[in-house]
Symmetry: D2
Subunit: 367 residues, 4 copies
C-alpha cells in the first residue's frame, strides 16, 4: 500500500500535520556507513525554510531537524533513520471559519469527502509544511549519493513565474543561489521581484515552472517498463503539493517535433562513452538513464489562499464566500525548488540501489 | 520492487517481448464475481491493433487474447488472471543491422548499457507491442469498474498532432470513434489525414498530445500524500512508451494563472453534491477526486524509427549512420489512445479498491 | 522493499534503537474515524513494560507513548499515525566490552558482518526494546478492529517455560491476567515462579512457548496463495526477537496425524454458519479464515545474555570469553506475550482491510 | 498488495488453476546474463512431477515448462521471465459431488466463503498443482544463485513421516536421491515404504516433516527487523499447501533450552572467518545469516482427500458425508521436498540481491 511512502529500496514515509506537535520522515533502506549529522540535513532544510524573505510565508519555523535513529557515531547504520521536525510556530488563532468552509482549489473539501474528518488547522496533512520532511529525507539521500557517485549534482531552479519566462540565452548556474527565486537569469530575478511584490500586496498569487537537472548520473539507472526512471521522477514531482504537470526533456513540446528533429544523434566521446548531439530525451531513453543530464520540469499552480473573496460552501452545505487571511506564499513555486531537488535525490538514490541489486553494476561495454 | 508491475490492489505485471512466442499481463487482486470473457477483452485490443489503416504500422497481428486463469464459468474468481497474446507475425527478417547499431532516440543503447544484453528483435521489451498487454489488463479493469460504478466512463482522444491542435469549440464526443485518429473534431480529422499521409510517405514521424477524461468518478478516490490519484495517473501515463510529459487539468498552463483565475468556485448542486464553477483542477484536489471529470493529458514524442539517416554508433563503438526501415507508425500517438484509456481504467479501479479498504466507502456528508 | 515495515494496508514501520533518544512506529493506512488517545495505547504498553516484577529486566522505562500525528480531536484522520516512545533510562555505563566482543547467540556478530557498523549500546536495533513500538502499533490496531468487528478478541498466554508445560485440562482464561507469566493454569503459575526464580538467581535463562488465540474472526480473511492469513501470522511472529518456530493449529504435530484424525468435520450451526467438530486447522484453511478460533503458537529461545562465561571472539578476531552482566530477562518469553498479541492484531486488521478491498465484504452464502 | 506474489527484488507471481489451460510463474527482477534454458528448469520440475512412483498421485502430467519471455540467446535479459506449464491431463470426470460438498480440512469451504465462487475442478487454485510454478521459479533462482555464489547448495529431505522419524546418526547426504521419499537414512527409506504402502491401500494419508539446508550462504544476508531472512523463509514455507508449522535451527525445541545450552560459541577459523561450536541458531542471528548452514524445517499435514467418509455440509447447507476418490498422494510431504527447495532458493536469491542493493556487498571485517 504505502500511501504515504515512496521509493523502493530507499524508502521514505513522511508523517505529520501542519499544526500537530511534529512532523518527519521515516527513512528505511539507507546504505550503512554514510557520514551524516544533523547539520548536513539542516543545510537543506534552511533553504526551504519559510519567512526568509518577503516572498514566502511569514510563518517563522526554526525547522530544526533531529535525527532520532539510524545514525551512530556520525554514520548511518543501515537501520531506519527517523528525521523529526518539531512544529514551534503553531500560533493560536481562530480556525472557526476554515473549519466550517472549504477553500476553493484546496484539499479541504476532498479530505472531508473521503475521510469525514480533517485536521483543518493550517491545512493539516495537506499543508505544504509536509514538504519539510521531504527535504530532510532528500538531504540524507544526497549524502548517500555523495558516498556512491561523488560527482553527481542535482540543481533546481525556476524557469517561469506566471506570464514571465527566463531567457535561456542568459542562463547562469552561478546566479541561482543569488536571488530569492532560484532563477538562473539575473535580469529575470530583478523583474520578477517587482512583479511578485505587486501580487503579494494585492493579496493574489501566481503559478510557476521549476526545472531540476541532475548532472553526472551514470548510464543504466531505471528499469523497464513500470519502474522507469522517468516514471518515478514524474510521480515524485506530481506528488508535491500544487503540481499540475510534469515534463521530461522536451516535455509537452515533444508533440510538435518530427522524428528527425527529436532524434539525439550518437557519437563516441574521447573517454569511450557515447556522446549525444542534443538532449531532447532529457537523459532518459526507454526509462533508463543515458548518462546525459537528467532534465525534469513541472508546473506549480497558484496558491488558492488569496484575499479576493471566492464563492464556496460550508460543511453544512450552505453557499457562502471565503477570503483566506493569514501567512501565505504569493508564489509557492519558490519553496518548491528545494523540495523538488530533494525528491530528485531520493529517486536517483533509489535507482542507484535498485540497479546494483539487479545488475551488480554490470555494464554493457561499448567498443 | 516490482519493476514490471503497477497498481497496489489491482496489480498488473506485464511480460513479454515483441518477437518472443507471446506476451501478456498477470493481473492479481481483481475482485471476484466480475462477468468477463475473452470477447470483452478482445474488444479493447481490437481498437489498438496495428494494421487497421494506413496510419499505423503494417505489422499484422491477430492480437488474440487468451484467458489462462482466474476466470471460471464466465466470472472472475479472485485469483490471478493471466491474459496471454501470442505473437504470430514474427516475420523472419534480417536483424543484423539493428543488432549492431543503436537507433538514436530509442531504448536500444540504454538496455545495452544497463543489462549488457538485449533482445533487439523488433525492439524486444521496449517495443510498443508491450502496450497490448496493458490494453488487455485495462479491458479487465473496465469490466470490474462496470460492476462497481456502472456509470463511470473513460474516454481518450487526440488533441494535438505535431503543429496541429483541435478546435475545442468544435468538440464532439460522437466524432471520436468515427476517425482513425480518435479526434473529437471532425475538421481536424480531415486535415490531419492529409498531413499524416504526407509525413508517412516521406518516412518521417510526428508527436501528439492525448487527453483522457474519466466521467462519473466518485469523490474521495486517491490518498495523500504519495498515493495520490494524480500521482498514480501521472506515473501510469509516463510509463507508456514515448511519453515525455503529463498534465492534470490545467497542466503546465497552471503556472500562468493567478489564484483568482485558478480557483474552481464551489456551489451546492440540486442532488446535494457540490458543483464547481470550472475544472482547472482536473477533478483532483490534494490527490483526491472531487467528483468532477478527471482530466489527464500527455505528450507522445515522434517515433525514432524514420527513413532519414541519423548518426549513431555501433556496439563496437564505431561511428556510423542508421535508417530504420520496416513497419512503423508515423504517429505512435494514435495507438496510444486505447493504451492510455487502459492505464486510466487500471488506476481508477485500483483506487476504488484502495478506498474501500481504508474507508469502507465512508463519506463525509456535506449538508 | 520495506525491510522495517510489515502489513499491506495497515502498514507499520518501526524505527529506533535501544539507547537512542527515542523509538517508535510509523503507521500508514489506518482507517479514519477510529476513536483513540494516548491512554488507550499506553494500556497495552504497560503490559509489556519492563521492571514490573522480578522476572523481567530491571531496566526502568516509563515507556510513555506520544501520538505525534494522524489523530485529531480524539479520532484517527486516515493520515499516518506516529507513535513515539522516548528512551529515558539510557543508563550511562561502560560499553567497552560489548563494543569489542560478540555475544554468542546474539545479533552482535551478524550486524557487524552485514553493515560494518553497529550501535552496540543495549543491543541497538536488535534489542527487544524495539518490540515496544510493535505493541504501540498493535494497540492502535486493536482500536481499529474494535470499530470494525467489536466482538473480535485477541489473547496471548504462555503454554511452556523450559521443560514445563501447562496442563490443558486446567485451562482458565481468567487466570491469564492474574500471574506474571500470562499462564492460563494456576498451578503452573505457582510452580514456574519458583523455577524461574532459581534460574534468575543463577544468572541463567530459559525459553518458552506462547500461544495467541483470536476469537470472533470472521470467515473469509486471508488470500491465496502468498497473502495467506497463516503466512502473514507466521512471518509476524517469526520477526519477533528470539523466535525460532511458529505453528498454526496442530502445528508440527500435524505431521504425526492421519487424514482421518486431522479432518475437522463440518456441520451446520443454528445460526446458519458452519460449525466444526474440531480445530486441527487452527481456524485457517487454504490461507483463509474459517470463522473458528485462529490459533498461532511460537517458541522463544532463551536469552543469550547470561552470567556463565561463553567462548567468543573480538572484533579484532581474537578468541576470548564473555559474561553478559546488566539488566536482562531470565525468560524473554514473558514479555513476548503482549508483543505477539500486538502482531496478531496488526495482521488481522490488515486482512480485514484487504478483504474489503478485494471482495467488499461479499460472502458466499451457505444454504 | 501482491497476494499472489513473493519476494522483493526477485519477485515471483504464480498464476493458474489445477484444471485450467495452463499455470505458471511470472518472475520479475531476475539479474541479466544468467545462462538458462528450458532444460535447466525442467530438471527441477521433473523431481516434483506426479505419477513417478506409487507413493504420489497417479495424475500424469508432462509438466513441460515453456519460457515465454525474458531469455534471449540462452541468457536472461533482465526483463520478466514467464514460465508456463500447460495442463495436459485434465481428465474429464464428474465433478458434481465436489462442486456441491466441501471437503473437511480443505480450502473448498473458505474459498466459497470468501469469494462466493470457486473453481472446484481438482481444487482449482488451492490445488498442490500450483507448486509446479514455484518449482519452475525456483529453478531459475538456482541458476541465478549459481552465477552469484557458485558453491551455495540447497538440499531438502524428509525427516519424519507420521510417527516415524529418521535416525540422525545414520544421516547420509548421498541417500537422499536414492529413495522416493528423499530420506537421508537408508533404513528409514525401507521401513517407510511398507508403512506408506499400507496407508495408501487403506485410502488413508499421513503428515510429514521436511528439512531444508542451505550450505555456503554468505554471512550478512537478511535485514532487521521485518525483512529478516528467517521471517522470509518462514513465510515462504508456510505459504506451501498443507504446511502447519515452521522451524529455524532448534525450532520449537528452543523453548526447552537454557541460555548456556543454546549459545553457539564463536571461534576464529583458519580462513579468517568465524566458526561456531554448534548451530542451534540454524545459521541466522537477528534475522541475518552467520555463514553457517541455514536450517529450516516444516510440518505438512496429511492430505484431507481420503477414502474414509467424513461428515460435511453442502453449498445448500445440508449435512452430508463425503469420500474423496480420485488420484491423491498418501503423503503430500514427499512432493513438498522439491517445492521447499525452490522456495528456499527464491528467498536466498532475493536476499543476495537485497543485500547488494543496500550494502553493495560491503562486509565488516573481523580481525
Amino acid at each position: 500500500m504505502s500511501i504515504n511512502s515512496f521509493g523502493r529500496m530507499f524508502r521514505v514515509t513522511t508523517w505529520g500535520e501542519s499544526h500537530g506537535p511534529a512532523l518527519g520522515a521515516t527513512v528505511d533502506g539507507c546504505p550503512p556507513g554514510v557520514p551524516v549529522d544533523e547539520g548536513m540535513i539542516q543545510h537543506w532544510l534552511d533553504r526551504r525554510k519559510p519567512g526568509q524573505n518577503k516572498y514566502t510565508t511569514q510563518r517563522r519555523e526554526a525547522d530544526a531537524v533531529k535525527i532520532l535513529s539510524g545514525v551512530f557515531e556520525g554514520q548511518t547504520t543501515g537501520t531506519p533513520v527517523q528525521l523529526m521536525i518539531e512544529n514551534t510556530d503553531q500560533r493560536s488563532k481562530d480556525y472557526s471559519e476554515i473549519a466550517e468552509k472549504f477553500r476553493p482549489g484546496h484539499a479541504d473539501i476532498t479530505y472531508w469527502q473521503k475521510y469525514g474528518i480533517r485536521d483543518y488547522r493550517g491545512g493539516g496533512r495537506s499543508s505544504a509544511r509536509e514538504t519539510a520532511a521531504r527535504v530532510a529525507a532528500g538531504g540524507l539521500a544526497r549524502e548517500a549519493i555523495k558516498a556512491l557517485v561523488p560527482d553527481l549534482q542535482i540543481t533546481g531552479y525556476m524557469v517561469r513565474m506566471g506570464e514571465h519566462e527566463i531567457d535561456r540565452s542568459l542562463f547562469d548556474w552561478g546566479e541561482i543561489e543569488r536571488n530569492p527565486f532560484w532563477v538562473p537569469d539575473r535580469q529575470a530575478a530583478e523583474d520578477w521581484a517587482d512583479y511578485l511584490d505587486r501580487l503579494r500586496k494585492s493579496g493574489s498569487s501566481v503559478g510557476a515552472v521549476i526545472e531540476v537537472v541532475a548532472r553526472g548520473v551514470p548510464a543504466g539507472l531505471g528499469a523497464p517498463v513500470y519502474g522507469k526512471l522517468d516514471t518515478d521522477l514524474a510521480a515524485a514531482m506530481m506528488s508535491i503539493n500544487a503540481v499540475k504537470g510534469v515534463e521530461i526533456g522536451e516535455g509537452m513540446a515533444a508533440a510538435k517535433l518530427t522524428g528527425e528533429a527529436n532524434a539525439d544523434e550518437i557519437f563516441m566521446g574521447n573517454d569511450g562513452q557515447p556522446v549525444f548531439s542534443s538532449n531532447h530525451a532529457g537523459g532518459i531513453l526507454g526509462g533508463i538513464s543515458t548518462g546525459q543530464d537528467i532534465i525534469v520540469r513541472f508546473a506549480v499552480k497558484p496558491t488558492s489562499s488569496i484575499l479576493t473573496p471566492r464563492k464556496t460552501i460550508t460543511k453544512s452545505g450552505e453557499e457562502t464566500e471565503i477570503i483566506t487571511k493569514g501567512r501565505h506564499d504569493p508564489c509557492v513555486g519558490i519553496r518548491a525548488v528545494p523540495v523538488a531537488e530533494a525528491m530528485a535525490a531520493a529517486v536517483i538514490l533509489d535507482h542507484l540501489l535498485l540497479d546494483r541489486a539487479q545488475t551488480g553494476g554490470l555494464r554493457g561495454p561499448i567498443g
